[in-house]
Symmetry: C2
């Protein structure tokens, strides 16, 4: 199977666990045997268990590259948009990445699906059959139609010609109101989950109608000149040869705390206590300090270094405008080399904890407007400071004046306390260099 996972969005609806740089698919919330995994880890694991030879490419934005490498390692392909366009350019870019970079033949089928539905393995088996159906060539596009469980206003609908497993598509409908949705259901309509399969040659042909490009590299270089246009508008609505394959298994959209907590196995992640009078209460706590809940009903409590949410579950779907109104700097982030966490913010200083994974290192860089001090609190490795290599271990202190070029390599897992000092501390104050060694 060739799969393109669409990994988008900055999920503010799951604040404080998601933020401008951590989308909801990276929150580790699903119980595994030895801890928790994120949506993207869960989906990738499920794909591999259905087809261990699956070629998985994540279509995403630049901002997610570090988090993807951090959570999935280096086995996955990443097709990162150099800037945000709509789904048509993104799917074309990922398709040509598969063809030109990964060397997948243009006769092969690709299955596109969003990274964030909460599903079981039968969903990925269905994807496999979706691909097989596309291989037959009876249609140019084969969509997955999800059998509705209620007349939802949240999804688009596909009206199939018949109620057979595979059917031609009569028409598509935008998100309706409940009454209209009830009408669709009586006509046997299916939810459009944004899942579809096609032959690479088909989408590349469609792409060349709209876009003048030679190959992936060329497309990537000129990506900022492309028009913002959705795949539905550019391709689906103009295509006559479309089939839909129905899927009746579990498929949940976990976009809000209300729906996400329904999918949680236990009621508490992290340090938390509930008294016996709590009912329907979920605690998701990424802080090191305990949460105590007393006498609450149908409430979600979520705490991270970004903030603390305490919300009635129904109302949790309305948090976005309130989160938008918060003026909170990014307090934690997963990077390709590890992660960092802001410990203290003062006028003129910022103290963070840096964790580097074994064998990883950060960019060689300098800052114009701040000095920095590193104190090694665990692990071993070495630093390069203005070209000088130095081994480091617990207790070592490294001071770096503004302008000084520096990086650190982790031999084992390495943790540093970094104190930044200066009147204008900004994440944008960073010059990167090639390491001269």
């Amino acid at each position: 199977m060739n799969i393109i996972l669409l990994s988008g969005g900055s999920g503010k609806r799951l604040w404080p666990l998601s933020n401008d740089i951590r989308s909801k698919q990276f929150i580790k919330i699903f119980k595994t045997e030895d801890g928790y995994e994120s949506m993207v880890q869960r989906v990738y694991r499920q794909i591999c268990s259905v087809d261990k030879n699956a070629v998985v490419t994540v279509a995403t934005s630049k901002a997610q590259i570090s988090a993807l490498h951090n959570q999935l390692g280096d086995k996955i392909g990443i097709s990162a948009e150099p800037c945000r366009r709509d789904t048509f350019p993104a799917i074309v870019l990922a398709t040509s990445y598969l063809h030109d970079v990964q060397g997948v033949s243009e006769d092969e089928v690709v299955i596109v699906c969003p990274v964030d539905p909460f599903v079981t393995e039968d969903y990925f088996k269905a994807l496999y059959h979706l691909g097989k159906q596309a291989e037959k060539g009876e249609a140019n596009l084969v969509l997955m139609g999800i059998e509705p469980t209620y007349p939802s206003e949240k999804y688009g609908y596909i009206i199939p010609a018949s109620n057979e497993e595979v059917s031609d598509v009569i028409t598509f409908q935008e998100k309706p109101d409940v009454k209209t949705a009830e009408g669709y259901l009586s006509r046997g309509a299916l939810w459009n989950g944004g899942v579809f399969a096609y032959k690479i040659s088909y989408v590349l042909d469609q792409a060349h109608k709209f876009i003048d490009f030679r190959d992936y590299q060329d497309l990537y270089q000129t990506y900022d000149t492309l028009e913002k246009i959705s795949f539905d508008y550019a391709v689906v609505e103009n295509e006559k040869k479309i089939q839909v394959m129905r899927f009746g298994g579990q498929w949940k959209d976990l976009g809000t705390w209300n729906t996400l907590t329904e999918a949680m196995e236990g009621e508490i992640i992290g340090k938390g206590i509930q008294n016996e009078d709590c009912q329907g209460v979920h605690i998701i706590n990424e802080l090191g300090i305990p949460v105590l809940a007393m006498g609450l009903h149908d409430v979600v409590i979520s705490a991270s270094p970004e903030g603390i949410l305490v919300s009635d579950k129904e109302q949790s779907s309305f948090i976005k405008p309130f989160v938008d109104s918060l003026d909170q700097q990014i307090m934690f982030a997963e990077k390709s080399w590890g992660s960092y966490l802001v410990l203290d913010v003062e006028q003129g200083s910022l103290t963070i904890k840096i964790k580097l994974n074994p064998g990883h290192y950060m960019n060689y860089h300098s800052h114009k407007n701040r000095n920095e001090v590193w104190v090694v609190i665990s692990g071993e490795g070495h630093t390069y400071v203005d070209g000088m290599r130095q081994s480091i271990r617990v207790g070592d202190v490294i001071t770096m004046e503004a302008g000084c070029r520096h990086t650190v390599f982790a031999k084992t897992e390495l943790q540093l306390i970094e104190v930044q000092l200066g009147e204008e501390i900004s994440v944008h104050d960073k010059q990167k260099y090639e390491l001269e060694w």
Copy 2:
């Protein structure tokens, strides 16, 4: 007025703002013109505004000395029990402190009152009159009787002989059930708020009946040998000449989040947002990150470096056993020289932020089992490290091996990041020294 303020207890009922070393009277929760003040600051300010010459002595435990100096400065007297005994030894110790250390004549009257009722200035005017009544010598003890507003089970009751402003006392009653309390109220009973006035000579005479001691110093030295006995049991129950003076002004016991939030002026202290569907919600947030509350009713949310409480207000009075079950180290503390806050806890390291007030310094000390690194993030001062004096300013780094003697003096307000490194980090690993300079 000579006033002894009884400042006791480790108020776990107001966790996470109170903890083993910060009692509820030190929580800054009452709005002032330029910030917030604590119960103890509020009471001290109110006393001074009624009688600017008042001699105030706080009867407390050793653990509170630093916080009292931090919040009240050096103007107050402190009579600190060297170890915990009951109220009789504590009041005798404070009374002999007033007599022997502060030089108050034994003919003078002392008024004893708990530090934690929420009152207005008329209460302290009533204390003044209570003292005047005791001066008359009609009785050996003059109690304040608070006019009940409801048949409470939480207080002891005083049954007066008449409903005049000053009356003899017929008897005392322990905390009753509601039905019994209703009966007391119909007989004109008053709440016993633990407030009383006496002449110093009276209590010292009573003390010598039970305890063999010469003076304050002698009593302090032998304090650990004293029997635990309450003032009520040792003195009040055996005294025939007792009067009660009634008080009908505001008097509230703010011992739980439910009652405390009733006394708050606004609904939010610290960073917090409520949506329009929140009703009766209070947010008290000492963390630097925001709290967002959505669709909650009659809930208190309190966050500090120790933890996060989210409780139905009624149920907030039952938090103690749950807080007792938490195994959380002390995360912040007010010291006589300033304060500290734990930023990060790892196996083998602890990172804290230290703030020193201008002109203050910590003890000259060393640690057996840890190295330390200081990074100055604001202010100016100087360090002594193994007897060597060094001026410090922002950006300076000081490294201290285990065994090395060190202290820091603040010229201006001074802030340090301190990284502690070692396998056995403990607050008890501390040897103090006289500074040799």
